[in-house]
Symmetry: D2
């Protein structure tokens, strides 16, 4: 058999296959879980894990809730056991006492998740399980404790070093493109033709992170337009009748849409490295690229204005721009961070506020959230560390002099 | 770009690339580690991690030891902090108090390892780091505590669900075959021709587990001979001039060599599922296969006899066989488990002792460790759970009546 | 670099890249062709070939016609030269005289096509060139001579042994699926969702032949439905709300659509082996399959009836069925072969007429061509040779007794 | 099923599988061939072709000879039929008369080869058949006529546009590397370690042409050393203890070995484009490369000197160099081309004689054929066309002034 056959079997192995039939012993999902954690779990773990995953898949919300509550109460830590292990370790720290402490301080539900994950293809099922958990935790806040354990495990499993960046193109498998259409969160796709228009031209690129255990599920993806100069409107950028720019002539890469795909991976961050790695890869392929910039929505602008009992001034474009600039640079949460979530994301990555544009997104959504105003965040690779430092230490929203001046104008107008 | 290009970039990403140059700030590896764990680690983590890995790679043993001791003392848990987090959690268990407890009870060196692992290709470096750690811990037993943390992380990262089983054949990449030659632990390869003889014929198979983050490093591999009937000697099995059996005519698959490849993954077990999965895969491909059996060494026989102030009786083959059977079934450690490590491995997997053969391995190594006696462990898929249960609960070494009779004969002879 | 990199470069090589700029010497396409056939063609052939292909791509029909006429008149055979080479060969047949004969009897335009084909990616361009040629030959029949040379070369290049059969699925690259939509000739796809419905369910399959030099261009594809029993209507077969049959429960594979994709490969036949190979592959994968059958249109029925000054009798379903059966079995061309082209195709492959169904295709097209009547051709692998023999030697249209009886009924009704 | 599965099936299809059993009719290979060419060949062609290929594989030389003689006498052209078809065509050239002429003028053995090639994996078998044919034609010169037909077909099938260039590395499949070892014709490999030394370092490259229908059989390969400056000795170039040059620092690519792999493809030339394409690919990857040069043997030097009743002067290195330069530039065959076959190959590609080195190959073979003298041929991409033109039109051996001066010195010394 050939190396290609190897790869094939790799892909096949990734498919989840359920148990051959129902559990002959008729155990509940809780009993199956206890058995999986027990001694017999070592040898018959695969079969037990498949029964649990199959059983879970067929459950209604109330049963899922009961299962998560079982995890909360029965598979948590035993505080007294932790305390005595800790005492023993502190009085005589050695391998044995440390091992006992590690065992006691980790809740058994983490081990349950690891044992479920033995089954090929189970990782995606567990991500789906956490999606349910987050939804159900709205009404049962104690489930958030279970969620912290899932998140802890996922942060380890979905560590950046395990992810692979893949270009998404019109030659990618249709089942993956189907998911790109479904998950696009910023500028929705109308149709497959619309998708083709954003993938096929040589001035358009798309990249996604994948995890090897979920090979047909993108985790996060970014869409990129190659342009000459920094664009000021999404209508122009995505116009159906625009002239395609030969990729070699582009000087700017515009990250105009970033979408997370997996609700079950909420809070496990990898968007940060996505932009930076795509920027690095693109500049290697296309040495003419000098500027890496976003064209971003300002989702919180109108909401914030309402909390200030104001409206976005619709008299002049400049007035809208200065109001938006003020919001971006000055509107802060109690913890001192910017109100706008997109601002927090890009500033946290070391970007700076580069320019603010009126009439830049005239879609219903764009008008509703920010009166059509958009913003460019600039990724200047030589300034990223320094910007991040200023943001992290002093919550400084670094901006160009032009945007800073706009923000000051707003304050002046306001008084 | 095509889907193949995606795969390619996947493979390229897996290659570790070091930092572009030395750390401009001239920090020590300890300082770099502290910075990586600090706030700035979020944005400049990749660069810091590369500096640490590069620096580590260039160190001598005494410096490595110092680095591990830094991990032991500076990056462990703070028992008082754990205790107060635990108290707070116990008095008011909620998301916040649980999060605080999780944070306090996990030593910071685990987070250090996860952050180092952000760098593509770093996983193999960390496995290598643990290999050093285990070696150095011989003289500095406190390092075993650090090792428990590595092992904990690796058990999560190298979870069965993340591994891929790949056939190894004469069409596999030479760099991988090179490692198969290097790692073969049971019956060493003389040469590439010898390797070819054990891979190319249709009655020979080889399978290995790989982790996607270390795609050219096998983790463990098993060599299989397809035969008619259960073989009783490795000389016959591996004879250069044997007739090749058409695969479709085989009724038995013989697992005649299992080799772990990564010292840095010691104690992270996946051999268990390897044999069972290979058996399942082979029986799907070759429906004629009905028997899955090993031809295994008895590495502890002569050593154990010496502890009993005895020698292996060389008078008759039967005498040697019965002595070996007695050893396999009756010689137990203080914890009640069999003395022989290979017996522990296969019985723990649910196999049973099927037959004992004299003059079965006449190599120097085979004669030295067991006077040439070998054993077949049988994997009867319908009995695996039950065997395992008996072994796990009562440390019963399940054996065929024939082997049990042999063991009784030895006892009779002895008295 | 890895084996995957090799594959990648393979795919990249297949892309046609034009010449770096226009021909510096400003030659016409005819002059370039003459130079490519001349001595300097050996070393600068690639560049010349690229100039010719680029130049051709930019031409209007009248210029293309001129180019083909140049091929007809200037690059044909020289009958006198052939005759004297033939005389020399006949009087002294040896290597030299035979070589001279071969050289003289092959028109130089064949060598021109081979030299153009040196350029990676040129094969698809040449197939496109023949598509133009066939179109233009309608008005310039002398071009058919050039076409015979193209067809001769393509029959050699697209030899069955060079083609690869690939499954087409919802996981195939979107650019290939796009072509499947475009080329489907029998039951058109409404949309990508329609495509998904015919690819994704486990009781649907699709297979295409590809040539390695045109890796993203299917040559011909067949769509297959897995069913229990032989279906009698395309509405039922393709109903949106049908229950999906687990593939393992199917006993019948229905070839319900076969589409040729490349006009430029007209007359180069590979459909024959497509069905037989798909049948063989499917029966290996799904041992439960016992029947391989088509559900085929009868495109010539109504046209033939008109030539007989008749209409399809719409009174009863049976009347329509018997009329169609009569047409299929008895309506013959002057050369003795069946009038219906689909009948000729399947009978020529060794199939037999299995059953005739009224109201089986109620689409506009189905009603227009055959009043909704369809036919199953059965591929009974054990009878294929024998059926073919009867058809080839005696133009017998082999049919089941039931269909034969239906045809007789029609004759009876007619009189 | 996935795209990778497609590729897999591609590879599997390429494997030749013989007929299921012997021909039930017990026909001779000649009868089988006649049937394959006849009507029934259309539908049962695959089975017939497999029987013929299987039967051929089992034959001794005398039987093979008989089969080739059958091809010569029974499957050649019928001169009278050709003549009458030619007459008909000449008097009324149209599609029908041209088709008849084409049919008559092509010997039926060409069609036989095409029909044998329908079977997946047959292409390699046919290449092997021609290898036999060439060997047997030594004693039966009439077989050369059959050979011309094979060569004609192979030139079409192995057209440059169908070949793929693949890098060969230490990560290539072992079965392919095994063939590289076997086929290396210039500097033999001692062992797999020797192979690794010539593949793994970053200043070593290897590239081969493959045909998709023979995916594990290299057709021709070239080995490349990356150096600083043009090397003057193979000992230095291949020294085990040399320092590896970082690839990015190289300014010169040295083609130090080119080996044809398939005797059955003799006379079907692709070496020409190999060097030029490798040069183009390398200069894209490594922009620092400016010089593309060979380090070539002079296989004909000592043989030619013997025909001149001379010996290579061993007094001084310069004397040897000037004698070699004289030979390279002045020693011509009756047809005016250089005596040395390697010179003919590279000059025909448009290279020029760059430098001549004494003591450059001190192996037994190097000393025997040219007293250790070697030569660099330079591929100056800007001069290739011009050099080729001079060589093709005037048989000029283009050389640097230094080599020309050396050659003149020899003439002076000689008189």
């Amino acid at each position: 058999m050939s190396f290609l056959a190897d790869l094939l079997s790799t892909v096949f192995e990734r498919r989840y296959r359920g148990a051959a039939g129902p559990d002959p012993a008729g155990r509940t999902i809780q009993e199956l879980s206890t058995d999986l954690l027990g001694a017999s779990g070592e040898v018959s773990g695969m079969a037990l894990a498949r029964h649990i995953l199959d059983r879970y898949a067929g459950k209604e919300d109330d049963e899922k809730l009961a299962f998560f509550q079982f995890m909360t109460t029965d598979l948590g830590i035993d505080a007294d056991a932790v305390r005595s292990a800790l005492d023993a370790f502190q009085s005589a720290p050695d391998k044995a006492s440390y091992r006992a402490f590690l065992a006691a301080s980790e809740p058994r539900r983490q081990e349950l998740a690891r044992r479920l994950n033995q089954v090929p293809g189970a990782t995606g099922k567990l991500v789906g399980m956490r999606k349910d958990l987050l939804r159900l935790a709205d009404k049962a806040p104690e489930l958030h404790m279970v969620d912290l354990d899932f998140r802890h495990l996922f942060a380890s499993w979905f560590n950046r070093g395990f992810l692979v960046l893949r270009p998404i193109s019109w030659e990618s498998p249709a089942d993956i493109l189907d998911k790109i259409i479904a998950y696009e969160a910023v500028h929705a796709f109308d149709s497959w033709d619309d998708l083709r228009r954003r993938l096929q031209p040589e001035d358009r690129r798309c990249f996604a992170f994948f995890h090897p255990a979920m090979p047909s599920e993108p985790l996060i993806f970014v869409q990129v337009a190659l342009t000459r100069g920094v664009p000021g409107s999404v209508q122009t950028l995505l116009a159906d009748d625009r002239d395609v720019l030969p990729a070699g002539q582009a000087d700017t890469a515009v990250f105009y849409s970033i979408s997370n795909c997996q609700d079950g991976l909420a809070g496990v961050s990898f968007g940060n490295s996505l932009i930076k790695q795509v920027a690095a890869d693109l500049s290697r392929q296309l040495p003419g690229l000098g500027t890496f910039v976003t064209l971003s929505p300002i989702p919180g602008l109108n909401g914030w204005l309402r909390t200030q009992a104001k409206d976005l001034p619709m008299d002049t474009a400049e007035h809208r721009r200065s109001t938006a600039a003020h919001y971006l640079l000055r509107a802060k949460r109690p913890d001192g961070k910017p109100c706008d979530p997109v601002t927090r994301f890009h500033l946290g990555n070391g970007a700076l506020v580069h320019a603010v544009h009126a009439d830049a997104d005239l879609s219903d959504k764009g008008l509703a959230q920010s009166g059509g105003v958009m913003v460019n965040y600039l990724y200047d690779l030589s300034l990223i560390s320094q910007n991040h430092e200023r943001y992290a230490s002093a919550q400084d929203v670094v901006a160009t002099p032009e945007v800073t001046a706009l923000a000051q104008l707003a304050q002046a107008q306001d008084t």
